[in-house]
Symmetry: C2
Subunit: 152 residues, 2 copies
């Protein structure tokens, strides 16, 4: 499964329209390359007391990276869907002292097929997705979230 520039522009427009706090975060759909979706944000509006990125902003961008991956998958499959996060866990391993991007990889083909089959058959499907923030060749933040998707 591949996402087009049109898909990414539609995602950006949807995030801006439906989750307005993404404007304050400065969230930008930065691309889809080598099977990974990238959501980027500048450090400045997300700065904290240690001049690094605020944990809440990091979590928000990671949460949206998983959310966006499922939104794109459903769109590409021709099933306009609502995506909701059920739970997540996050480890803030190292401070993020620069503009950052959350990366979420497309699930394996078999998992994707199972997910779309469930969505079509049951009208509801779950998926657990990992996402991460890397910089300076290091893993800075590791995230895992469980989402549920229903046709809208």
């Amino acid at each position: 499964m591949m996402f087009t520039d049109g898909d990414l522009r539609a995602l950006q427009a949807t995030l801006e329209a439906e989750i307005p706090i993404t404007g304050a975060i400065g969230l930008r759909v930065a691309g889809f390359e080598a099977g990974a979706l990238m959501l980027a944000a500048p450090l400045a509006p997300n700065i904290n007391h240690k001049d690094t990125a605020f944990a809440g902003s990091l979590n928000a961008v990671l949460t949206l990276a998983g959310w966006s991956m499922l939104w794109l998958i459903a769109r590409r499959a021709g099933i306009p869907a609502k995506v909701v996060i059920q739970d997540s866990a996050i480890r803030y391993l190292r401070p993020v002292a620069q503009d950052f991007a959350a990366e979420c990889s497309l699930p394996e083909r078999a998992e994707l097929d199972r997910f779309l089959l469930m969505l079509r058959r049951k009208g509801r499907a779950r998926m657990e997705l990992a996402a991460e923030i890397r910089a300076d060749g290091e893993l800075k933040v590791a995230f895992s979230g469980r989402y549920v998707v229903q046709p809208s």
Copy 2:
């Protein structure tokens, strides 16, 4: 341990000055009652595609509730400290369709004593804190975070 109105005003000023995205969230230190600190936020700036509160905003306010509790404890103990979150887990149990508040309870006395002893002796102490968002008599979001505190 009790926090005064002066402590809560200092906390509000610190959040505003050091974590500017709290302004976009509309975060407000709402009070300390019956051993629980309340951080509130309006729904409007934090709305999502389902007209309920965006998960990232809920997580941010809960993350800051635990952070604020430790900041207040260190301040009251006369140890100006830097507080950093290490990891957290969150369950979005029910949608939050109204203005909301995250609640974090003061730790038990024995745990508080152990924490302050470590902070004074080792110059570094950890604490795990739970926080939650309740409304309509229901638990909406359950959060747990591990924090590390060092004198600043």
